[in-house]
């Protein structure tokens, strides 16, 4: 994973959140954003952003961290080669 890639994923996630703030409180927004990631992000992208939240939680906003807490870890399990 390159830092550029991670920067892009963080930007994408924060953009999804920013465009869904109207759904209400953080919890609701995070649920909507997590659902979006679940439906549209590739497995590897989910893995990378989940790894990032472990290593560098400070790079993500509070709602982004909440989103990732809601992301089904199953969906981000590495595919068998």
């Amino acid at each position: 994973m390159s830092d550029q890639q991670l920067t892009n994923l963080i930007k994408m996630l924060e953009q999804i959140i920013a465009n869904n703030l109207h759904h209400g409180d953080d919890d609701r927004v995070a649920a909507v954003a997590a659902d979006h990631l679940h439906k549209f992000w590739a497995r590897s992208m989910k893995q990378q952003i989940l790894a990032c939240v472990q290593e560098h939680p400070e790079r993500l906003s509070a709602v982004a961290r909440l989103t990732l807490a809601k992301l089904d870890p199953e969906a981000a399990t590495p595919a068998e080669v």
Binding site: N8, M12, Q15, A18, H38, F40, A42, M45, A79
Partner: protein, 973 residues
């Protein structure tokens, strides 16, 4: 009674009404529901009121001679050849301008009529060269035919009197010539240009004997307003206006009906052939999308198909610095399969992917995504629709429940107010643009929401439109302001909303949109458009009767593209403009098969028919037919593939018919990604920009060389029919099939119709589609299934696929791409008529005479500030790159906004566009880039590198191409 006519099903389509699209019925059909019975030469016939006697006769099988009439033009009554006798009436009325009446008895052949017609022909011929044997129209000339029919035997006036026989030919147009010596001044060309095309380029100058056809003020065609649509050429009954390809090759001997491969209008054409040589493309009257009209691209720009640059044999190389090596199909496919398998063994199953194309057929696209999902074993498939209409897919599916436009093109003829948002129909969808102009001439109102003053606003006799020239990037603010007016001024269609829409979603949306912060007054500072104009537009749309919205990439290619699409759907639902003719939400698709490529499951998260990959029941059906387990997680989208390539985890890519190196944003980033790949397989007709980074080059076939279907912007599935053999022996679907077989995943189709059968089996909206039905009906608008066996012209008439329509809250968020002191101008991009997309095809035709290079349009005040003059070289810098284009001073945009097109690779328009993208779909934000502009004296560094790289790659290709000229490749299965 010979013919009974049901006006509601009146159509040119064979099979539906018995009308023959190849026959000219003389005057247009009347749509009246009142029927009139009469007799012609003793034959009884019943036709709709308003039908001309000429047309009624033609329907009864009686052909009255005619010259100035044609069934795509209003009757004019100038030649008088169609004179008839009518019982109880005096004289010899022209049958083309005489409407039928109840009980009327018409005689078409009497001694007097014969004499009258012969006299008329004698006059015509006395001023017409008698060089029929060497005339290019010989064998296909209405004047010749009528002379034969009326029995002209002598020309008593001789040929010595005053005549036009020495008039000079105008050869300025590259595709057709104008030889006035052959002109009979029937004015069909003038009327075709007005009524069919809507350009009004031609006039009849002078009177009586002196009258002549003239393009503009006595200008040559190329210097006039003419846009080379060909309508006048088609209308001309003589060889005065004649295709140069026919002058060169002679009259064609057979023809095949097929579909244009350029834009999303999807015009039907007759490919007129001599053996396997394409002589001309003639718009087909039986085609429902175009009804016999065309534009310069589909009509004339087909020369690329036989261009010397065509890749004629498969080629491979180990590195992009190596020369290409011509190999057999077997070797190229084995090489590709080995590379892909090797990469997957080393880097994992997800390290490879494929990109399908909106230019390829449905069947080809279906096979590529199937290959990725079944043979590569992942969902890393995407399409170039990612970079154009992916927000349409997301936005319309969320609100209306289906990722498609709601109407037929014809529906615009019932619209009372037409709203065009971020689209340029007269340039990018020209045949539909002409239809729209026709409706505007009939009095429909026009609202254009676009930073640039586009040509539809200047429709001759089209009335004054409202132009809302908003700042690039403020679409959502604008759509919210419009909705705010509709809601707060009580202009909603409450009946529609309460019956058809989800009430909770509506209440939430209504509370949101009614907030004062969305009012046009509050939004004025953001959009730059005066509030009173926005209010006027909102009222006009909401109170129209039928309000129709047409939008294009100016809506989708933004950081809030998906939000804007939902905002448009909100507007249509709030005003009840859904579910009937004349209204609707209509995405205008750029390329021929954008709709189809999305339908066919090209997106990484959706199987064909927009069925999500994580739906176990859906996967089970596909797995049963495909015989392999399918991944339940979405794959990578194009921009994610690029990021992963640069990061070193994505190593192999199969690209069919798409030029990502030129068409995707931030070119330098894309180039870096492509250079990081271990194996790039490009299947294309030319060495496009992407192919310069490839390791395998598989020759593609043009639309003339294959069978299949395209789906246009109205969801209309049209047949593409092969008229010549594929240059390298294989059609594109056969190549994908062979690659799959080489990878060990068996595919065995013997014709694209079998692929369509599989699509129908797996896609609920396609279950009723088959090639047999397409033959029978001509075309089908999906959904086509048990509920609507003949297809669905208008969507959502009773309910939405998701039950109730879902209003969506559309909060405006400014893009991060803002003008600043360093980058004070906003660049936006678009298209022009004569060129198509990345230009690979049209640049290899004479269309380049209209647009030899991309230019930067800049407002006079911005130009003056920077000391810029027309034609200066301008350096354009953005936060990501720099390029150089020539200046064109233009006041089409407001100050602060500059504009360019992206049809030429060396222009580097995408060197300056950024990585910003739509929040929901990653569709790039092509339409807003902050830039600075200054006069320069030399190309940018990127352009110099581009030129060097291009020269090197051409040099690496050249020896291989020389060896392939006599190629005789054999297909493999």
């Amino acid at each position: 009674m010979l013919h009974y006519y049901d006006p509601s099903t009146q159509s040119y389509e064979p099979g539906k009404t018995g009308l023959n699209p190849d026959f000219d019925y003389g005057t247009p059909a009347s749509v009246s529901e009142t029927l009139v019975s009469m007799s012609i030469d003793g034959r009884a016939i019943t036709v709709p009121e308003g039908t001309s006697v000429l047309r009624a006769a033609a329907l009864a099988g009686i052909n009255i001679p005619k010259l100035c009439a044609s069934d795509n033009l209003e009757a004019f009554g100038s030649c008088r050849l169609c004179a008839v006798e009518i019982e109880g009436r005096r004289g010899y009325p022209a049958s083309c301008t005489t409407p039928v009446a109840e009980g009327m008895a018409v005689t078409t052949q009497t001694g007097k009529l014969a004499k009258l017609r012969r006299n008329i022909m004698e006059l015509y011929i006395s001023d017409h060269p008698l060089d029929c044997l060497t005339c290019p129209a010989n064998g296909n000339c209405e004047l010749q035919d009528v002379a034969g029919v009326v029995g002209l035997r002598e020309v008593r006036y001789g040929f010595d009197g005053e005549n036009h026989l020495d008039a000079e030919t105008d050869d300025s147009n590259p595709y057709f010539s104008f030889d006035p010596s052959k002109c009979i001044v029937c004015s069909r060309c003038v009327r075709a240009c007005e009524e069919v095309q809507g350009t009004f380029a031609l006039t009849i100058e002078g009177r009586g004997f002196d009258s002549v056809v003239s393009a503009g003020q006595g200008e040559a065609f190329m210097d006039s307003e003419c846009v080379s649509c060909g309508a006048c050429v088609q209308a001309c009954p003589t060889s005065t206006l004649m295709e140069k390809s026919v002058i060169d090759a002679g009259q064609p001997e057979h023809s095949v009906v097929t579909t244009c491969a350029y834009c999303g209008v999807g015009c039907s054409f007759k490919a007129e052939m001599k053996g396997d040589q394409l002589v001309r493309m003639v718009p087909y009257k039986g085609g429902e999308a175009n009804q016999g009209h065309s534009c310069v691209k589909g009509r004339f720009a087909f020369g690329y198909a036989t261009h010397d640059d065509r890749i004629k044999e498969p080629m491979i190389r180990d590195s992009i610095n190596d020369p290409w090596k011509v190999v057999s199909w077997e070797e190229a496919l084995a090489f590709s399969a080995d590379k892909i398998k090797g990469i997957q063994a080393r880097y994992g199953r997800e390290s490879v992917g494929g990109i399908t194309s909106s230019r390829c057929t449905n069947e080809e696209t279906y096979l590529v995504q199937k290959l990725v999902r079944a043979a590569f074993g992942n969902n890393n498939t995407d399409t170039c629709a990612r970079v154009c209409h992916s927000p349409t897919g997301y936005g319309l599916k969320t609100t209306l429940g289906e990722s498609a436009g709601t109407q037929t093109f014809e529906s615009v003829m019932k619209a009372d107010t037409i709203v065009v948002i971020g689209a340029n129909p007269t340039d990018a969808h020209p045949v539909f643009g002409s239809l729209m102009r026709r409706r505007l001439r009939q009095g429909a109102k026009l609202i254009v929401i676009d930073p640039r003053r586009i040509d539809i606003l200047e429709t001759p006799h089209g009335g004054e439109g409202i132009h809302l020239p908003l700042r690039p990037g403020t679409n959502v603010a604008m759509v919210n302001a419009l909705a705010h007016v509709i809601v707060t001024e009580g202009l909603e269609d409450q009946e529609f909303i309460s019956h058809r829409c989800d009430s909770d979603a509506y209440d939430t949306w209504r509370r949101f949109i009614a907030e004062e912060r969305h009012s046009p007054e509050a939004m004025e500072a953001i959009t730059g458009v005066p509030a009173d104009k926005v209010r006027e537009a909102a009222r006009l749309y909401a109170q129209a009767g039928n309000g129709a919205i047409y939008y294009g990439l100016g809506v989708t290619e933004h950081s809030q593209g998906s939000t804007m699409v939902m905002g448009i759907a909100n507007l249509a639902m709030a005003t009840g403009n859904i579910g009937r003719e004349g209204g609707g939400v209509n995405p205008l698709r750029g390329q021929n098969n954008v709709q189809g490529s999305c339908d066919m499951g090209s997106f990484p998260h959706e199987l064909p028919g927009y069925q999500h990959v994580n739906d176990a029941a859906v996967r089970a059906r596909f797995q049963a037919v495909w015989g392999v387990p399918l991944d339940d997680e979405p794959g990578l989208r194009i921009p994610n593939m690029f990021d992963a390539a640069i990061a070193g985890t994505f190593k192999g890519l199969y690209v069919q018919g798409e030029d990502i190196a030129q068409s995707d944003p931030n070119t330098q980033h894309v180039e870096a990604a492509l250079k990081s790949l271990d194996c790039l397989i490009v299947q294309d007709i030319f060495l496009n920009e992407t192919a310069k980074f490839a390791h395998v080059l598989l020759p593609g076939s043009t639309f003339l060389e294959k069978n299949g279907t395209f789906t246009n912007a109205e969801r209309r599935i049209n047949r593409v029919r092969k008229v010549m053999e594929p240059i390298a022996g294989m059609e594109d679907w056969q190549v994908t099939m062979a690659l799959s077989n080489a990878l060990g995943y068996p595919m065995a189709y013997s014709h694209p119709s079998e692929i369509m059968d599989e699509i129908a089996q797996l896609t609920p909206t396609f279950t009723g589609v088959s090639y047999d039905k397409l033959e029978q009906l001509g075309s089908i608008q999906w959904p086509c299934n048990d509920a609507s066996p003949e297809g669905t012209p208008t969507m959502h008439t009773v309910d939405f696929p998701i039950g109730k329509g879902q209003f969506a809250v559309t909060e405006y968020l400014a893009t991060e791409e803002r003008a600043s002191r360093k980058f004070p101008l906003l660049l936006t991009t678009g298209r022009i008529l004569s060129q198509y997309n990345v230009g690979a095809q049209t640049r290899r035709t004479d269309n380049s005479e209209w647009h030899a290079e991309d230019v930067l349009e800049i407002h006079p005040s911005d130009a003056e500030l920077r000391g810029i003059h027309d034609g200066d070289w301008l350096g354009i810098s953005s936060r990501v790159g720099q390029t150089v284009l020539r200046a064109q001073i233009s006041d089409r945009m407001m100050p602060g906004v500059v504009y360019t097109t992206f049809h030429h690779p060396g222009s580097g328009a995408n060197v300056i566009t950024t990585d910003n993208s739509d929040w929901a779909t990653n569709c790039p934000e092509y339409k807003v880039t902050a830039v600075q502009v200054e006069v320069v004296t030399q190309p940018s560094e990127w352009q110099r590198n581009f030129q060097q790289f291009d020269q090197r790659q051409q040099a690496l290709l050249e020896p291989a191409m020389q060896g392939t000229d006599q190629a005789d490749a054999q297909p493999v299965r």
